[in-house]
Symmetry: C3
Subunit: 247 residues, 3 copies
Amino acid sequence: MFKAIVSADTLQETLDSVSVLVDECKIHLDDDTLSIRAVDPASVGMVDLDLAATAFESYEADGGLIGVNLSRLEDIAGMADAGQLIQLELDEETRKLHIQIDGLEYTLALIDPDSIRQEPDIPDLDLPAHVAIEGRDIDRAVTAADMVSDHIALGVDTGDDLFYVNAEGDTDDVHLELAPDQLIDLDAGDAHSLFSLDYLKDMNKAIPTTAEVELELGDEFPIKLHFDIADAQGHVTYMLAPRIQSN
Amino acid sequence: MFKAIVSADTLQETLDSVSVLVDECKIHLDDDTLSIRAVDPASVGMVDLDLAATAFESYEADGGLIGVNLSRLEDIAGMADAGQLIQLELDEETRKLHIQIDGLEYTLALIDPDSIRQEPDIPDLDLPAHVAIEGRDIDRAVTAADMVSDHIALGVDTGDDLFYVNAEGDTDDVHLELAPDQLIDLDAGDAHSLFSLDYLKDMNKAIPTTAEVELELGDEFPIKLHFDIADAQGHVTYMLAPRIQSN
Amino acid sequence: MFKAIVSADTLQETLDSVSVLVDECKIHLDDDTLSIRAVDPASVGMVDLDLAATAFESYEADGGLIGVNLSRLEDIAGMADAGQLIQLELDEETRKLHIQIDGLEYTLALIDPDSIRQEPDIPDLDLPAHVAIEGRDIDRAVTAADMVSDHIALGVDTGDDLFYVNAEGDTDDVHLELAPDQLIDLDAGDAHSLFSLDYLKDMNKAIPTTAEVELELGDEFPIKLHFDIADAQGHVTYMLAPRIQSN
């Protein structure tokens, strides 16, 4: 059983966070939380999303699992105006999701969850460096790095106590250093890893410029990015595997 | 003889209503009205437009007929700012239309009216159901239906006293029901017809979201859509032939 | 030695004025002025730009010459917000330009000036007609002319004391006449020349609609267009060679 009412903004934010990595996903409909875990086809980027029942206008669920086509669901949500409410109701028998927006009813055929790529186990890493940074600074770094290279190094300099971004191209380079007073928080630790810019650009699309983003970093380790959605009633974690550094 | 001054907005609205169906048209320049009738190449959609002399800043005509390339005339009108006035003057000898916008003069070669597809006779049908609906509700229905199908059913349910829209796709469906309190007016009568979404999408482009649109519907009959333009100094009627239903 | 701080707006305006004609250019870094002269590959359009040291927040230079890729430098400047300051510093040894925007450092490899097309000598012509006109009127004339033709005639009618623009297409024509009261200034003299619209469209892109543009015109002679940038701390001159008229 699943029946919920949610604002168009919240639904769009939720779907966008996942659709930057995958086209289809499984959605867990537990009694107090809607949750999604997914990994991209190359197993390089992962997403773990939780949206509390309190993020909804109303929410009733009892532990179901549905498979959805994300871009289709995004298109439907995109028909609603910003403040409008969207009603969702699962028909268990037909395995269809009834979506209502101000009298307009869309009947969406669901996907068999077994046909969707398996959900990843997102490892509980104990990474030495923690950085809290504004979404707009991630956007600036990723946009600039993309002008010169297809990969980007993120690290923490424990000596000078700063977070840095480096991108080295064939002729041009991009470098950004942020000291503690330019960050929301810095818990320095030895960290330097290289990442594919394609993935970070996709993740960056889903990060609001005003969001406070927590980064967890290590030395040639995956990076984790955490941020809130839906007025902190929802939470997204991205994990991105490092690229092997050639020196 | 034809000489007129009209606001850029009014001219654009007029041209757009016709250009969604045809590339070229004949314009009748009668002494108190400018009028256009046209049918698309497949004879599926028709338009009948009247613009009263009172919609113009000034208007002098004596029953002439000109043939124009609509997209060309739209491009010219598009050079004017929203509030600007456009002067039109026909040179009978050269068969050219002189168009002036704030000192800029564009000389447009006209098309021989005889070379343009014949104007349709728009039949005076006595259709059983009449619905008055906001332009934005037509827009919502057409946009949603377009996500699942290439045709759309419009009808009136006399039992439940409501207007409905149905679009059935291979996997997903769209359904919209509007009761009298969600409509401007409903004069129920037996009606259900299937239409090509391509045509309705084109017509929808020319219908302002704030317009009050009168629909006339029947059972496997053409639909007529009426709405005002130019502050009710002009009027547009679209007629769209039904598709044969396969059951 | 070169070290300067400049607003993003001023830098963008400067680069745009030159990039409409060429992809790479030499920049002269004199002690009180930054200047650029360039000619397009076909030697039809030329630009001569001066930006005074006073247009910068701070400026130190001693007569250097650098070669730059304009679109790359425009992309970098485009990362800054409208009001933001951009720091430029030349590393003489590595021949790289260090560009800083709010902590983000971009290291741009310069181009050997000797590998860039030679700078033109812009002739000091004594043209008989001078017209001062708003940028928006140039924009209107060029946009309209582009609808009918690929060349445009500009001239002054000394008899009627007006500046005119003519474009003749295969079927349609565009004509604009501006009398002294519709111009900022008119110093009439015999002038009529035909120009390639492609070049004038490119130059028009860099002319602000609110700019006061000085035109110098002659009879089958090049045209010169002058306008200020950077709150009159900078100045741009375009020169465009005429096309041969076929009569």
